[in-house]
Symmetry: D3
Subunit: 244 residues, 6 copies
């Protein structure tokens, strides 16, 4: 089975880190391919970059999904997730969404720990309809790049942030942010509840979905588009015209 890991940031090193995390979580025999979009912010942090990234990600998927059995969106805001599901004939998983479903499968309620921008993550989880299971976001402060510049201090701060979620009643904690890749596994021995890495969760769920061999919906809002467009990259324009 081949799974596409598509970044929405334009920084290739993040793409590679996510692909590596996916490879580590994947079963034997699963091949991970990775792609970086052509335009957009180097790192997505706020609403504006995220809105632009939706287009970039769909263009990137249109170009690279052919030959893949499933796709993972390597962006913790689950950018353009429903649109990607409509666009492609294969299962698509968002990394935060996947971690949320796993969290619901191992705890009665879950929290999310990240660096900053709590309100956007709250919207992501609420957008997935999971508010009733969600204890909320806690932030560590600092920036995602601290993971590289001060790995130990950052790890300690993220662990403390996770435990603040536990104090709220969380029985599992989603780590929010592509820069977190690998941190869940590293911090797990010191944490009181399961810590969930989005890429790892998305990888095992993508494998599970591929095994279920579900068809594409022929009704509702995810039916493949049939639209004329102007100014789009040829592979994306082709998918929008209904060539799949």
């Amino acid at each position: 089975m081949r799974i596409l890991v598509a970044n929405a940031n334009t920084t290739a090193i993040i793409t590679e880190a996510c692909a590596a995390a996916a490879r580590e979580a994947a079963s034997l025999g699963t091949e991970i391919v990775a792609a970086t979009p052509r335009f957009g912010a180097k790192t997505i942090g706020t609403r504006v970059e995220n809105a632009i990234a939706a287009h970039a990600l769909l263009e990137c998927l249109a170009e690279h999904a052919s030959g893949c059995d499933a796709a993972i969106l390597a962006v913790s805001y689950d950018t353009a997730l429903d649109a990607a599901r409509q666009l492609l004939p294969i299962p698509v998983l968002g990394m935060t969404e996947a971690a949320c479903y796993v969290a619901c499968s191992v705890g009665t309620r879950f929290g999310l720990a990240t660096f900053n921008q709590p309100s956007v993550y709250e919207e992501v989880v609420r957008g997935h309809g999971l508010s009733a299971r969600f204890t909320g976001v806690h932030i560590s402060g600092g920036a995602p790049t601290d993971v590289f510049s001060d790995p130990e201090g950052t790890a300690d701060r993220i662990l403390a942030t996770c435990e603040r979620c536990v104090a709220d009643g969380a029985e599992a904690v989603v780590l929010g942010g592509a820069a977190m890749a690998g941190l869940a596994q590293q911090l797990q021995p010191r944490a009181s509840v399961p810590l969930l890495d989005g890429i790892a969760c998305a990888t095992v769920l993508a494998e599970a979905l591929v095994r279920l061999k579900l068809p594409r919906p022929q009704a509702g809002s995810l039916v493949a588009p049939r639209r004329e467009t102007v100014g789009l990259a040829p592979p994306l324009a082709a998918l929008l015209r209904g060539g799949a």
Copy 2:
């Protein structure tokens, strides 16, 4: 005062129709300028085109908003509304959002009548946090272009759709879709409750916001971005870098 009416469809005739509706609703002394995006679907109907339109609309706003006092998004899905608010230093109003707030100001609950894609409109209204005031969507069937090919039959069907909202308890009905421009005024004498045209509502609310002279937020998720990007149109890249 000058208000920018920015379309998210790439069909200029829709832009012009929306601009005309805005001119009709505007106060004396308000100038309406209009803009059409460079890329995307001729008409947005489903999730994929809408996700792409977010980028197109932000690019379009970045190019044309300079010198304007407010902007109206002439797309009934209120595409990229929060991102546009973050991007620009002026008030921004979505056409469906504006109609919803007006509906809440004249009735206890409101419905929405449109041609098709009810679930997307339900998400738009829910996304604005107005579910508690919302009786739901009714659809007329047919396509937005029927307004031009069969104006009378379409008007009758839309009116009947509005009255189905009334039967649900709606005391005001939002007309969903840029192709509806002008229809509210035409159907109002035959309707049992106020019918709300998004462009007209957005125009008078934009004027009201401009008069309030509110500053841009310096905290929260709408603070102006400061991000490095690649591959974006220069005016949009400049705004993302923090040049405003």
Copy 3:
């Protein structure tokens, strides 16, 4: 255009302060007329006075609305708002409601700062169906009259209260209470997000609604009453009998 500012407190000096705030926000050519009810509490603070004020306000509107194009309820609990909409053939706006809609138009979520009685304000905002956009109430302590006895100290405390809303994620803050009139404008330069004055917001929205020329609903719960009554003031009894 002529707008009626109807108080629900029986203290004329509050009526005058609200009318002055409305005049400052109004467009050129808008005339503000003001009215104070005949009976009830000097200042409404709790449920009992507010329940009585509903009758007082409707009586006051029945007597003074004739010849006006819109009415504003100058009471921060939006007392009897739906009943007033049913009673009168013109647009009616509550001051807190108006500030909430403006808040939703400029921020993704909003808070409310006031002196005390937080639970009643929470009910007001929830009653408007806006909980999903609402970060909650913070109170400064003290009494509304502190605005007059200790203007500077009160202003500082209200500003700090607004910033507690911002810390909760509010991107706009509604000032709750008629005694706040003018405070929004005064504190705005020191605040990190837009501060919204109910009377100012209601004034510009009332002007907007008048321009939309919407008809009165002929279906639903706001249809004009036709009821026999005993013991009511003649203008109110006349409106209830169906004379409008």
Copy 4:
């Protein structure tokens, strides 16, 4: 024990019918006293009359509650319920509220059957915070007075309306409206689930609350008022000043 049944309609015959229903439900040794307000609509049907009735009911309670152990509001909109609880030192029960709590005690979900004005009843039940247990309102059409002019036909229509609630999943049905007094008992043998009469439920719950001997709250929004007023009836003004 003595229970006050206070009407909010100004029609004495409704007061008497409600008092009779209360007497039938009451335990041996419970005395029922009844009161009709001085002003307002002969029968409350819409928002305007209901808003006025709040004042009328509070005035009526202030005059007649002295010497009583509990009060029942004989108006199916539970008019001014929280204000009455704040005003009086004794337990106060709304008739629809009481029926809802009993409904929740005998079924997992409940519906409400009434003559018309479904949206107002939905607001009443939602206002009590019971939406999660509520299957909604069904209306029979016709007017409350049909109970007297066409008792058999009306009974059949109400029964059919109750069974529509059952089809929605209701396992108990609240009869909404003072004119329903006695109907629950009459229709029960033909109904598939318990039918709940508001006055009967309020009577037995009032007795229960009196037996619990709970004190008046000294914190929160129901603390007794201490306000200066103008133009109110002396007993009401006295209670507002803090004389209890």
Copy 5:
């Protein structure tokens, strides 16, 4: 009238304490009978014991309910409440449920104070559909047995816990836990809002329900079961077969 107080813990001393509390709250002429289940945890504290207790409680009810007019579940998680209602032909009340309905009848919002396990109580109240009236749980720490080993210190801690609920806006506080029996009455003079004992509330509500003489539902999820079983105690198996 005879009311069965059925424990779900297997500790007879708790059964006796609950029966005593019920006797104190009951009207003259009400007989209280008590029963302890045959198997399960000595004291229920977590999900596992509670899930097992459902069966134990139903078996206990099947054996002892005959000849009773109502049953009270003397377990603060309201274990198996809906199943017990389906099983028995008489009214059944949960102790926490009953306290919640009484709380809603005396305050606009209520909280719950208990020793520990806040999330389970939150699920109980949410399961009853009362979240909108609920300010949440506060815990005192310690164990239910502290009531016996350190009565004064425990009383002080519970009182402080109740006042934390009041600070959240609670206008009544439910005491959660069978070990609380009697504490409400003892602490009430020092508390600022009504404190509600589950057994006392369930007793007076059970009496009220018995007086209403409501029939058993013949539709919906509470219709008496008709099922073949294996391995159950004979009285329970008989009720499941439809012998009632």
Copy 6:
């Protein structure tokens, strides 16, 4: 990897059908073992049997889970799911829960089709906190056993029931009921959206969870119990005492 499929009905033929469905969905190398409880209803249909089945299922898990890597609850009400998670040191998945998470991964909203008892399924889905994604239950009428007595007619009716979900906006449909095993695959070619079989979904998700190697939570409501009990089967009593 070895997965335990534990039935909650006492009919061994259902256990075998579920185990067969699990074997068909499982990856190469996954061993499925099955277990039937010692007591309870032959088929669970209503609340009473389900409440009893919680104990039966926990006893069954305690006896058979040793040596397994994960457990699946082969009962469509997801009976005792959280308790089972607390009891066992391995991942536990409910069959309906698993289908719901898969549904959320392939469609924006989902429905559930079953034979009868819609309100119980609504509670199951709401209990998992997924109401916002749920279009509701449709029932085919008839009994689960019709699958065996009239396979073709039943298949047609279930398909029509699924399409009623689609008409509500469902983009995936969960088949509710152990008797549905195999039906999803059979009906899929004729259905317009993905149909989800609980056992198949639970099997692939269980494999995914095992691969993630998450630890047991050391905080919150799922911490392993440590309780003294009476009258329980020895393996269950041992787990409750804390022997794991």
